[in-house]
């Protein structure tokens, strides 16, 4: 069955729930959400007003779920949603929304606009209106196992490199380990230092962990494109692997949307609660810190700041852990003026980075981050999401700031300062030391 307008509308009818109805009912057209959206603030174009991006779904709600709307529809007075409109709205919903959730924080009547956009995308993709780049990424995720087309051999190569670098074993498919560590494609392909970083940290903290050859990829393009059906397939792979390896925890890596997909949407996508817990790498590291199992040596001597990945901080609720961890290794850690739950998006979340068509507006939207960094005098911009990291690096380069500011992953920075104990003295390690 192919995608169609009719299928899209039916999807919206199925997706609209009590909160959505309440949100549409409450909207007073005040336009405050526009100020929370970097695509509006950086372009000044009113069409980027978050609530406006939902207009087709609003009409479906009105026509299908309200008394007057149904009456008007029956009498033939209502304006049905058309293909042309979906075509017009597709870039608004996919190119100029990163699901960052800032609008949901400022709406005075309390509308969770991000929650609405997420459902809006369900109908859009079912109607066949999704960007090519995101479609291709989703296709690769389903067919190959990774949006970037990363296959197991590539991971194995990185494992090998990490083992060589650290002199430690990187456990793979180790049944009965406590933690199953996931990675994102970007980490495997671009920021593979993370593998050695966590290997060293977990070894030092005596964390029993493993990677899984059947489920190393944490990202979820299905959720980004807005298809719960495909998102569920991707989550199911992780659930299956975690159950096969009988782990107690699955670690969501430094990737924003992976955390949302796995931690919050996952059980609802696969239709049952997990037999394991999902924990974010920052949460785990912060726990280790609190328990005294994570110790560091020395400090960064340069001024650093933290870019809050939206899905981890604002929409994930992990606000304090990255700060606690940063303070372990940075003496001159400064916050951006708007930080934590009100920090601005890098511009590439929610599938925007996978969508080449969105490149110009995404790069324009980066001006927001540039303004935030202006005058802070930071040498390092720390973050905890490989997608953010990519976007930040690219954005800084575009603005010729890449010489001044270095983008660093938090776990990596911690690993650099990891205090190494004398293994020979303790003589035991949960992480298998290489013979």
């Amino acid at each position: 069955m192919s995608t169609s307008l009719e299928r899209g509308i039916r999807t919206w009818v199925a997706q609209i729930d009590a909160p959505i109805a309440s949100f549409f009912t409450s909207c007073v057209h005040c336009g405050i959400c526009a100020d929370a959206c970097l695509f509006f603030t950086e372009t000044g174009d009113p069409k980027y007003t978050p609530i406006h991006k939902l207009e087709p779904m609003r009409r479906v709600w009105q026509q299908e779920y309200t008394f007057w709307g149904r009456l008007a529809k029956r009498l033939g007075f209502s304006k049905p949603v058309t293909e042309d409109e979906l075509k017009e709205w597709e870039p608004l919903v996919y190119d100029s929304c990163t699901l960052c959730g800032r609008c949901s924080m400022v709406c005075p009547v309390g509308n969770d606009i991000t929650y609405m956009i997420r459902k809006m995308r369900e109908g859009m993709v079912a109607a066949g209106y999704a960007p090519e780049g995101l479609k291709a990424a989703t296709s690769r995720s389903i067919r190959i196992g990774s949006p970037m087309g990363v296959r197991l051999p590539a991971l194995q190569a990185q494992i090998k490199a990490a083992e060589a670098e650290t002199g430690l074993t990187v456990p793979l498919d180790q049944e009965g380990a406590d933690y199953l560590m996931l990675l994102s494609s970007a980490e495997i392909m671009q920021f593979s230092e993370i593998i050695s970083a966590v290997t060293r940290i977990f070894d030092e903290a005596k964390v029993s962990w493993t990677l899984a050859s059947k489920a190393f990829e944490a990202t979820n393009s299905g959720m980004q494109i807005g298809s719960s059906d495909l998102a569920a397939q991707l989550v199911q792979r992780i659930v299956d692997a975690a159950e096969a390896l009988k782990v107690k925890y699955v670690i969501s890596p430094e990737c924003g949307h992976a955390y949302t997909a796995l931690r919050w949407e996952g059980p609802n996508l696969v239709g049952r609660a997990y037999p394991f817990k999902v924990i974010h790498i920052l949460e785990l590291l912060d726990e280790l810190r609190a328990e005294g199992r994570l110790k560091t040596d020395g400090f960064e001597d340069q001024r650093v700041t933290f870019h809050d990945p939206c899905q981890i901080v604002r929409r994930g609720g992990i606000v304090e852990p990255p700060r606690n961890l940063l303070n372990m290794v940075a003496k001159d850690f400064v916050e951006m003026e708007e930080h934590g739950i009100m920090n601005w998006c890098c511009g590439g979340g929610g599938g925007v980075s996978a969508n080449e068509r969105a490149d110009p507006i995404r790069r324009k939207a980066f001006d927001r981050k540039k303004h935030q960094l202006e005058g802070m005098g930071v040498a390092k911009l720390v973050t905890a999401c490989s997608n953010c990291r990519n976007m930040l690096e690219e954005g800084l380069e575009d603005n010729h700031l890449d010489e001044d500011i270095e983008v660093v992953g938090l776990a990596e920075m911690l690993a650099e300062h990891l205090a190494v104990s004398n293994r020979a003295d303790t003589g035991e390690s949960t992480s298998t030391a290489k013979e």
């Binding site: 609209i16 009912t25 409450s26 100020d35 007003t49 009547v109 969770d112 059980p267 609660a273």
Partner: protein
């Protein structure tokens, strides 16, 4: 219809009709939305849905973000309007008497001079908001006829009320009847327009807070 019949009608049957429409309409609207239902999240909760939902009902009255100029215009005028309108509605002695006749109890009123000030502030804020709606590209794009209709329906009782307590040439009886009628029109319009946000806002805020609460996220 004479002036007296007009006044007697708005004080009696008119108010009954308006209240009936308001109550039927709002109960209906809330249920129409609520009964669509929603899925309970299967994810292991990190926080409380209920307490966070209730907290957000109040907390969302204050903004967290830095806004642009256009946002601050809306914010400041919006605050002034809402506070001024509510104070005027609930604390003018004459209004307290109306509520007493509806609810069976009353509360202390504020001095008329203060209410005159709040009425003027409310009127000024509404005018500013209308001007802003007409000039701000975002609001102009979002607005449909309802936004202007509800603006007028809100402005009408404020301006007639202001004229009423500040002796003007228009006969008091006609003005009083018109003022009461304007309030009744506002009541009637609430369930049919975005004005229903006077109630659904708190439901929306609850949902927003509840969705965040489960995740242990601030909202």
């Amino acid at each position: 219809m004479t002036e007296t019949e007009f006044l007697n009608w708005v004080r009696g049957p008119g108010m009954q009709i308006a209240l009936a429409v308001f109550i039927v309409g709002m109960v209906y609207r809330v249920l129409e939305n609520y009964l669509i239902g929603r899925k309970q999240s299967l994810a292991e909760p990190r926080g409380s849905e209920w307490t966070h939902g209730v907290g957000t009902m109040w907390r969302r009255s204050f903004t967290r973000a830095k806004l642009t100029t256009r946002g601050y215009v809306t914010l400041v005028a919006g605050y002034i309007f809402h506070i001024a309108f509510l104070v005027t509605l609930f604390f003018l002695a004459q209004h307290v008497e109306m509520f007493r006749s509806l609810l069976g109890f009353g509360w202390p009123a504020l001095p008329p001079l203060l209410i005159t000030i709040t009425a003027v502030l409310g009127i000024a804020a509404l005018l500013a908001l209308l001007a802003h709606r007409l000039t701000d590209p975002v609001k102009r794009m979002l607005s449909d006829y309802q936004d202007y209709l509800t603006w007028f329906l809100t402005f009408f009782p404020l301006i007639t009320g202001f004229l009423l307590i500040n002796r003007v040439g228009i006969p008091y009886k006609t003005l009083l009847a018109t003022h009461i009628l304007s309030f009744e029109l506002l009541l009637i319009a609430i369930p049919f327009t975005k004005l229903s946000h006077i109630i659904t806002t708190f439901i929306s805020r609850w949902y927003n807070g509840a969705i965040a609460g489960v995740k242990g996220v601030q909202s």
